[in-house]
Protein backbone atom coordinates (compact mmCIF):
# COMPACT_ATOMS: atom_id res chain seq x y z
CA UNK A 1 0.00 0.00 0.00
CA UNK A 2 1.44 3.35 -1.04
CA UNK A 3 1.22 6.71 0.71
CA UNK A 4 -1.60 8.02 -1.48
CA UNK A 5 -3.86 5.14 -0.50
CA UNK A 6 -3.04 5.71 3.16
CA UNK A 7 -3.90 9.41 2.84
CA UNK A 8 -7.34 8.66 1.39
CA UNK A 9 -8.02 5.82 3.81
CA UNK A 10 -7.08 8.19 6.66
CA UNK A 11 -9.55 10.78 5.32
CA UNK A 12 -12.23 8.09 5.26
CA UNK A 13 -11.38 7.07 8.81
CA UNK A 14 -11.57 10.72 9.85
CA UNK A 15 -15.07 10.93 8.37
CA UNK A 16 -15.92 7.79 10.34
CA UNK A 17 -14.91 9.51 13.58
CA UNK A 18 -16.87 12.64 12.58
CA UNK A 19 -19.86 10.36 11.97
CA UNK A 20 -19.58 8.91 15.48
CA UNK A 21 -19.53 12.40 16.98
CA UNK A 22 -22.38 13.87 14.88
CA UNK A 23 -24.69 10.85 14.74
CA UNK A 24 -26.06 8.99 11.73
CA UNK A 25 -29.18 11.16 11.35
CA UNK A 26 -27.13 14.22 10.39
CA UNK A 27 -24.57 12.18 8.46
CA UNK A 28 -27.21 10.67 6.19
CA UNK A 29 -28.31 14.21 5.33
CA UNK A 30 -24.76 14.89 4.16
CA UNK A 31 -24.84 11.62 2.21
CA UNK A 32 -27.83 12.85 0.16
CA UNK A 33 -26.04 16.08 -0.70
CA UNK A 34 -22.83 14.25 -1.64
CA UNK A 35 -24.74 11.80 -3.84
CA UNK A 36 -26.55 14.69 -5.52
CA UNK A 37 -23.26 16.51 -6.10
CA UNK A 38 -21.72 13.38 -7.52
CA UNK A 39 -24.76 12.92 -9.76
CA UNK A 40 -24.20 16.40 -11.23
CA UNK A 41 -20.51 15.70 -11.90
CA UNK A 42 -21.02 12.24 -13.37
CA UNK A 43 -23.91 13.44 -15.55
CA UNK A 44 -21.82 16.37 -16.74
CA UNK A 45 -18.89 14.11 -17.54
CA UNK A 46 -20.80 11.40 -19.38
CA UNK A 47 -23.84 13.06 -20.96
CA UNK A 48 -22.72 16.65 -21.49
CA UNK A 49 -19.14 15.94 -22.53
CA UNK A 50 -19.25 18.40 -25.44
CA UNK A 51 -20.30 21.35 -23.30
CA UNK A 52 -17.81 20.34 -20.59
CA UNK A 53 -14.94 20.21 -23.06
CA UNK A 54 -15.92 23.59 -24.53
CA UNK A 55 -15.98 25.11 -21.08
CA UNK A 56 -12.63 23.57 -20.14
CA UNK A 57 -11.09 24.76 -23.38
CA UNK A 58 -12.32 28.29 -22.65
CA UNK A 59 -10.78 28.21 -19.17
CA UNK A 60 -7.59 26.19 -19.63
CA UNK A 61 -6.80 26.60 -23.34
CA UNK A 62 -6.13 23.86 -25.89
CA UNK A 63 -3.68 21.79 -23.84
CA UNK A 64 -5.30 18.44 -22.95
CA UNK A 65 -3.19 18.13 -19.79
CA UNK A 66 -4.21 21.58 -18.65
CA UNK A 67 -7.85 20.75 -19.33
CA UNK A 68 -7.63 17.53 -17.33
CA UNK A 69 -5.97 19.36 -14.46
CA UNK A 70 -8.56 22.13 -14.51
CA UNK A 71 -11.40 19.62 -14.60
CA UNK A 72 -9.96 17.67 -11.64
CA UNK A 73 -9.45 20.82 -9.58
CA UNK A 74 -12.90 22.22 -10.42
CA UNK A 75 -14.63 18.93 -9.61
CA UNK A 76 -12.65 18.56 -6.36
CA UNK A 77 -13.48 22.16 -5.38
CA UNK A 78 -17.17 21.60 -6.19
CA UNK A 79 -17.33 18.46 -4.04
CA UNK A 80 -15.42 20.13 -1.20
CA UNK A 81 -17.72 23.15 -1.39
CA UNK A 82 -20.98 21.20 -1.23
CA UNK A 83 -19.57 18.97 1.50
CA UNK A 84 -18.62 22.04 3.55
CA UNK A 85 -22.08 23.55 3.07
CA UNK A 86 -23.85 20.32 3.97
CA UNK A 87 -21.77 19.89 7.12
CA UNK A 88 -22.59 23.44 8.14
CA UNK A 89 -26.36 23.09 7.72
CA UNK A 90 -28.86 20.51 8.88
CA UNK A 91 -31.49 20.98 6.21
CA UNK A 92 -31.59 17.38 5.08
CA UNK A 93 -30.85 15.73 8.40
CA UNK A 94 -32.96 12.65 9.01
CA UNK A 95 -35.66 12.96 11.68
CA UNK A 96 -34.06 10.46 14.09
CA UNK A 97 -31.90 11.87 16.88
CA UNK A 98 -30.15 8.65 17.79
CA UNK A 99 -26.37 8.22 17.95
CA UNK A 100 -26.15 4.48 17.41
CA UNK A 101 -22.41 3.79 17.30
CA UNK A 102 -22.41 1.33 14.41
CA UNK A 103 -24.77 3.31 12.18
CA UNK A 104 -23.02 6.60 12.95
CA UNK A 105 -19.63 5.08 12.15
CA UNK A 106 -21.05 3.44 9.02
CA UNK A 107 -22.67 6.63 7.70
CA UNK A 108 -19.50 8.61 8.43
CA UNK A 109 -17.42 6.05 6.53
CA UNK A 110 -19.95 6.13 3.67
CA UNK A 111 -19.54 9.90 3.41
CA UNK A 112 -15.77 9.45 3.57
CA UNK A 113 -15.95 6.90 0.78
CA UNK A 114 -18.10 9.19 -1.38
CA UNK A 115 -15.97 12.30 -0.80
CA UNK A 116 -12.42 10.93 -0.55
CA UNK A 117 -13.15 8.28 -3.18
CA UNK A 118 -14.39 10.91 -5.64
CA UNK A 119 -11.38 13.16 -5.02
CA UNK A 120 -9.10 10.17 -5.52
CA UNK A 121 -10.82 9.37 -8.82
CA UNK A 122 -10.79 12.88 -10.28
CA UNK A 123 -7.24 13.70 -9.17
CA UNK A 124 -6.00 10.26 -10.27
CA UNK A 125 -7.69 10.65 -13.66
CA UNK A 126 -5.75 13.87 -14.17
CA UNK A 127 -2.48 12.07 -13.26
CA UNK A 128 -2.22 13.73 -9.86
CA UNK A 129 -1.68 17.39 -10.83
CA UNK A 130 1.02 19.25 -8.87
CA UNK A 131 1.98 16.00 -7.07
CA UNK A 132 4.88 13.64 -7.65
CA UNK A 133 2.87 10.46 -7.87
CA UNK A 134 3.35 8.20 -10.83
CA UNK A 135 2.83 4.64 -11.98
CA UNK A 136 3.24 1.76 -11.30
CA UNK A 137 0.55 1.84 -8.64
CA UNK A 138 0.22 -0.78 -5.92
CA UNK A 139 -2.12 -3.75 -6.07
CA UNK A 140 -4.32 -2.09 -3.45
CA UNK A 141 -4.50 1.10 -5.54
CA UNK A 142 -5.74 -0.85 -8.55
CA UNK A 143 -8.22 -2.75 -6.38
CA UNK A 144 -9.58 0.43 -4.80
CA UNK A 145 -9.63 2.29 -8.13
CA UNK A 146 -12.33 -0.02 -9.49
CA UNK A 147 -14.47 0.69 -6.44
CA UNK A 148 -14.24 4.49 -6.43
CA UNK A 149 -17.68 6.15 -6.59
CA UNK A 150 -17.45 7.94 -9.99
CA UNK A 151 -15.93 4.80 -11.49
CA UNK A 152 -18.62 2.48 -10.25
CA UNK A 153 -21.80 4.55 -9.90
CA UNK A 154 -23.23 5.73 -13.20
CA UNK A 155 -25.72 8.59 -13.13
CA UNK A 156 -28.89 6.41 -13.28
CA UNK A 157 -27.69 4.58 -10.16
CA UNK A 158 -26.87 7.86 -8.46
CA UNK A 159 -30.24 9.32 -9.35
CA UNK A 160 -31.95 6.20 -8.00
CA UNK A 161 -29.96 6.45 -4.76
CA UNK A 162 -30.77 10.15 -4.30
CA UNK A 163 -34.47 9.54 -4.88
CA UNK A 164 -34.45 6.53 -2.55
CA UNK A 165 -32.75 8.50 0.19
CA UNK A 166 -35.14 11.42 -0.21
CA UNK A 167 -38.06 9.01 0.13
CA UNK A 168 -36.49 7.47 3.24
CA UNK A 169 -36.01 10.99 4.58
CA UNK A 170 -39.67 11.92 4.07
CA UNK A 171 -41.63 8.78 5.02
CA UNK A 172 -42.15 8.10 8.70
Amino acid sequence: MGPIELVFLSIMALFGVIGIVRGYARELGVTIVLLAGLLVLVFLETELTGYLNQGLAAIAGESVTQQATTKALLFAAFLTGIMFISYQGETLAFPAKGKSFIFSLGSGLLNGYLYAGSLWYYLGSANWPYMTISQPYSQFYQFAWRLLPPNILTWPYLMGLVLFMLIMRVIK
Binding site: A96, G98, S100, F103, G106, Q139, R146, N151, I152, L153
Partner: protein
Amino acid sequence: MSSVILLATIMAISGVVGYQRGTRPAVINLITILGGLFLIGHAGPAIARLVNGINRAVHVAPVAVRVLGGNGAGDVSQVVRALQEVKPLVAADGSGPGFPIFLFALASISFLLGRTRWLRGIPSLAGLALGLVNGYLFGAYLLTALGLSEVMLPLPFGLSRPAAAGPAAQALPQGPGLFDRLTSLVTQRLSQNQLALLMVIAIGLFVVLATRFSSKSAKKG
Protein backbone atom coordinates in the same frame (compact mmCIF):
# COMPACT_ATOMS: atom_id res chain seq x y z
CA MET B 1 2.57 -5.15 6.68
CA SER B 2 -1.07 -6.24 6.29
CA SER B 3 -1.07 -7.73 9.80
CA VAL B 4 0.17 -4.42 11.22
CA ILE B 5 -2.66 -2.60 9.44
CA LEU B 6 -5.13 -5.16 10.81
CA LEU B 7 -3.74 -4.71 14.31
CA ALA B 8 -3.91 -0.91 13.98
CA THR B 9 -7.53 -1.17 12.82
CA ILE B 10 -8.47 -3.38 15.79
CA MET B 11 -6.69 -0.95 18.13
CA ALA B 12 -8.42 2.08 16.57
CA ILE B 13 -11.88 0.51 16.87
CA SER B 14 -11.17 -0.60 20.42
CA GLY B 15 -9.83 2.88 21.27
CA VAL B 16 -12.98 4.60 19.97
CA VAL B 17 -15.20 2.11 21.83
CA GLY B 18 -13.10 2.64 24.98
CA TYR B 19 -13.49 6.41 24.68
CA GLN B 20 -17.24 6.19 24.13
CA ARG B 21 -17.89 3.76 27.00
CA GLY B 22 -15.56 5.38 29.51
CA THR B 23 -12.91 4.18 31.93
CA ARG B 24 -14.76 1.61 34.03
CA PRO B 25 -15.87 -0.71 31.21
CA ALA B 26 -12.38 -0.40 29.66
CA VAL B 27 -10.77 -1.47 32.97
CA ILE B 28 -13.13 -4.47 33.17
CA ASN B 29 -12.19 -5.35 29.60
CA LEU B 30 -8.50 -5.05 30.38
CA ILE B 31 -8.74 -7.25 33.46
CA THR B 32 -10.74 -9.85 31.54
CA ILE B 33 -8.38 -9.94 28.57
CA LEU B 34 -5.29 -10.11 30.81
CA GLY B 35 -7.01 -12.86 32.84
CA GLY B 36 -7.82 -14.75 29.66
CA LEU B 37 -4.25 -14.45 28.39
CA PHE B 38 -2.93 -15.57 31.81
CA LEU B 39 -5.18 -18.64 31.75
CA ILE B 40 -4.12 -19.50 28.19
CA GLY B 41 -0.46 -19.06 29.10
CA HIS B 42 -0.48 -20.90 32.42
CA ALA B 43 -3.46 -23.24 32.33
CA GLY B 44 -3.55 -24.00 28.61
CA PRO B 45 -4.31 -27.75 28.86
CA ALA B 46 -7.24 -27.19 31.24
CA ILE B 47 -8.67 -24.45 29.00
CA ALA B 48 -8.15 -26.68 25.97
CA ARG B 49 -10.12 -29.49 27.68
CA LEU B 50 -12.90 -27.04 28.56
CA VAL B 51 -13.12 -25.59 25.04
CA ASN B 52 -12.97 -29.01 23.38
CA GLY B 53 -15.55 -30.35 25.82
CA ILE B 54 -17.99 -27.55 25.05
CA ASN B 55 -17.35 -28.00 21.34
CA ARG B 56 -18.05 -31.75 21.60
CA ALA B 57 -21.21 -31.12 23.63
CA VAL B 58 -22.50 -28.63 21.08
CA HIS B 59 -21.90 -31.05 18.21
CA VAL B 60 -23.12 -34.20 19.94
CA ALA B 61 -26.20 -32.77 21.68
CA PRO B 62 -28.46 -32.72 18.57
CA VAL B 63 -27.53 -36.35 17.77
CA ALA B 64 -28.15 -37.38 21.39
CA VAL B 65 -31.53 -35.64 21.41
CA ARG B 66 -32.47 -37.37 18.17
CA VAL B 67 -31.45 -40.78 19.54
CA LEU B 68 -33.25 -40.26 22.83
CA GLY B 69 -36.27 -38.79 21.07
CA GLY B 70 -37.00 -41.98 19.18
CA ASN B 71 -35.47 -41.58 15.73
CA GLY B 72 -33.10 -44.53 15.98
CA ALA B 73 -33.99 -45.07 19.62
CA GLY B 74 -31.35 -46.65 21.78
CA ASP B 75 -28.68 -46.53 19.09
CA VAL B 76 -25.94 -45.15 21.28
CA SER B 77 -23.36 -45.97 18.63
CA GLN B 78 -24.58 -42.95 16.67
CA VAL B 79 -23.69 -40.71 19.59
CA VAL B 80 -20.30 -42.38 19.95
CA ARG B 81 -19.65 -41.98 16.22
CA ALA B 82 -20.65 -38.30 16.35
CA LEU B 83 -18.33 -37.87 19.32
CA GLN B 84 -15.43 -39.38 17.39
CA GLU B 85 -16.07 -37.25 14.34
CA VAL B 86 -15.81 -33.95 16.21
CA LYS B 87 -12.49 -32.28 15.50
CA PRO B 88 -10.96 -30.61 18.58
CA LEU B 89 -10.82 -26.83 18.48
CA VAL B 90 -7.50 -26.92 20.34
CA ALA B 91 -5.01 -29.52 19.08
CA ALA B 92 -2.56 -31.29 21.38
CA ASP B 93 0.16 -28.75 20.51
CA GLY B 94 -2.13 -25.82 21.33
CA SER B 95 -2.85 -24.81 17.73
CA GLY B 96 -6.30 -24.26 16.25
CA PRO B 97 -8.94 -21.60 16.72
CA GLY B 98 -9.97 -22.74 20.22
CA PHE B 99 -7.91 -20.31 22.30
CA PRO B 100 -8.80 -17.24 20.19
CA ILE B 101 -12.48 -18.24 20.47
CA PHE B 102 -12.07 -18.58 24.25
CA LEU B 103 -10.51 -15.10 24.48
CA PHE B 104 -13.16 -13.64 22.19
CA ALA B 105 -15.91 -15.15 24.36
CA LEU B 106 -14.34 -13.65 27.49
CA ALA B 107 -13.96 -10.24 25.83
CA SER B 108 -17.59 -10.37 24.65
CA ILE B 109 -18.82 -11.19 28.16
CA SER B 110 -16.82 -8.32 29.65
CA PHE B 111 -18.11 -6.02 26.88
CA LEU B 112 -21.68 -6.91 27.84
CA LEU B 113 -20.84 -6.50 31.53
CA GLY B 114 -19.68 -2.98 30.75
CA ARG B 115 -23.18 -2.13 29.57
CA THR B 116 -24.72 -2.77 33.00
CA ARG B 117 -25.93 0.24 34.99
CA TRP B 118 -23.19 -0.01 37.66
CA LEU B 119 -20.30 -0.12 35.22
CA ARG B 120 -21.53 2.36 32.64
CA GLY B 121 -19.18 5.32 32.28
CA ILE B 122 -18.89 8.60 30.45
CA PRO B 123 -16.55 9.29 27.50
CA SER B 124 -13.00 9.75 28.76
CA LEU B 125 -9.44 9.91 27.47
CA ALA B 126 -8.38 7.24 29.96
CA GLY B 127 -11.00 5.01 28.34
CA LEU B 128 -9.41 5.75 24.97
CA ALA B 129 -5.92 4.78 26.23
CA LEU B 130 -7.19 1.61 27.89
CA GLY B 131 -9.21 0.78 24.78
CA LEU B 132 -6.03 1.02 22.69
CA VAL B 133 -4.22 -1.33 25.12
CA ASN B 134 -7.15 -3.76 25.03
CA GLY B 135 -7.18 -3.64 21.25
CA TYR B 136 -3.46 -4.34 21.12
CA LEU B 137 -3.62 -7.30 23.54
CA PHE B 138 -6.61 -8.86 21.83
CA GLY B 139 -5.46 -8.16 18.27
CA ALA B 140 -1.86 -9.21 18.83
CA TYR B 141 -2.91 -12.50 20.43
CA LEU B 142 -5.43 -13.17 17.67
CA LEU B 143 -2.88 -12.52 14.91
CA THR B 144 -0.18 -14.55 16.67
CA ALA B 145 -2.42 -17.52 17.48
CA LEU B 146 -3.89 -17.69 14.00
CA GLY B 147 -0.46 -17.38 12.41
CA LEU B 148 -1.40 -14.20 10.54
CA SER B 149 1.41 -12.02 11.84
CA GLU B 150 4.66 -11.66 9.92
CA VAL B 151 6.41 -10.09 12.91
CA MET B 152 6.69 -11.12 16.56
CA LEU B 153 4.21 -9.11 18.59
CA PRO B 154 5.12 -8.81 22.29
CA LEU B 155 2.54 -10.39 24.58
CA PRO B 156 2.50 -11.06 28.34
CA PHE B 157 2.61 -14.48 30.04
CA GLY B 158 5.04 -15.97 27.54
CA LEU B 159 2.51 -15.98 24.72
CA SER B 160 4.77 -14.22 22.18
CA ARG B 161 6.15 -16.43 19.50
CA PRO B 162 7.04 -15.97 15.86
CA ALA B 163 3.82 -17.00 14.22
CA ALA B 164 5.43 -18.15 11.01
CA ALA B 165 7.09 -21.02 12.88
CA GLY B 166 3.94 -21.97 14.77
CA PRO B 167 1.87 -25.03 13.94
CA ALA B 168 -1.17 -22.92 13.18
CA ALA B 169 0.77 -21.09 10.50
CA GLN B 170 1.96 -24.36 8.99
CA ALA B 171 -1.59 -25.66 8.96
CA LEU B 172 -2.84 -22.73 6.90
CA PRO B 173 -3.53 -23.64 3.28
CA GLN B 174 -0.98 -22.35 0.84
CA GLY B 175 -2.07 -20.24 -2.14
CA PRO B 176 -3.41 -16.77 -2.78
CA GLY B 177 -4.23 -14.78 0.33
CA LEU B 178 -7.58 -13.27 1.21
CA PHE B 179 -6.69 -9.89 -0.29
CA ASP B 180 -5.46 -11.49 -3.52
CA ARG B 181 -8.73 -13.38 -3.86
CA LEU B 182 -10.72 -10.23 -3.13
CA THR B 183 -8.71 -8.27 -5.70
CA SER B 184 -9.24 -10.95 -8.30
CA LEU B 185 -12.98 -10.94 -7.57
CA VAL B 186 -13.25 -7.17 -7.93
CA THR B 187 -10.85 -6.62 -10.83
CA GLN B 188 -11.50 -9.72 -12.91
CA ARG B 189 -14.62 -11.69 -12.13
CA LEU B 190 -17.25 -9.04 -11.41
CA SER B 191 -18.28 -6.64 -14.16
CA GLN B 192 -18.51 -2.90 -13.49
CA ASN B 193 -22.30 -3.18 -13.63
CA GLN B 194 -22.38 -5.98 -11.06
CA LEU B 195 -20.09 -4.00 -8.77
CA ALA B 196 -22.33 -0.95 -9.12
CA LEU B 197 -25.42 -3.00 -8.32
CA LEU B 198 -23.73 -4.51 -5.26
CA MET B 199 -22.67 -1.07 -4.08
CA VAL B 200 -26.14 0.41 -4.56
CA ILE B 201 -27.76 -2.51 -2.72
CA ALA B 202 -25.23 -2.20 0.13
CA ILE B 203 -25.86 1.57 0.48
CA GLY B 204 -29.64 1.12 0.25
CA LEU B 205 -29.64 -1.68 2.82
CA PHE B 206 -27.53 0.38 5.17
CA VAL B 207 -29.88 3.37 4.90
CA VAL B 208 -32.92 1.16 5.53
CA LEU B 209 -31.29 -0.44 8.58
CA ALA B 210 -30.11 2.89 9.96
CA THR B 211 -33.43 4.66 9.55
CA ARG B 212 -35.85 1.85 10.33
CA PHE B 213 -34.12 -0.51 12.72
CA SER B 214 -32.12 1.74 15.00
CA SER B 215 -33.87 1.30 18.36
CA LYS B 216 -32.37 4.48 19.81
CA SER B 217 -33.98 6.65 17.15
CA ALA B 218 -37.39 5.19 17.89
CA LYS B 219 -37.10 5.91 21.61
CA LYS B 220 -35.61 9.36 21.44
CA GLY B 221 -36.82 10.71 18.11
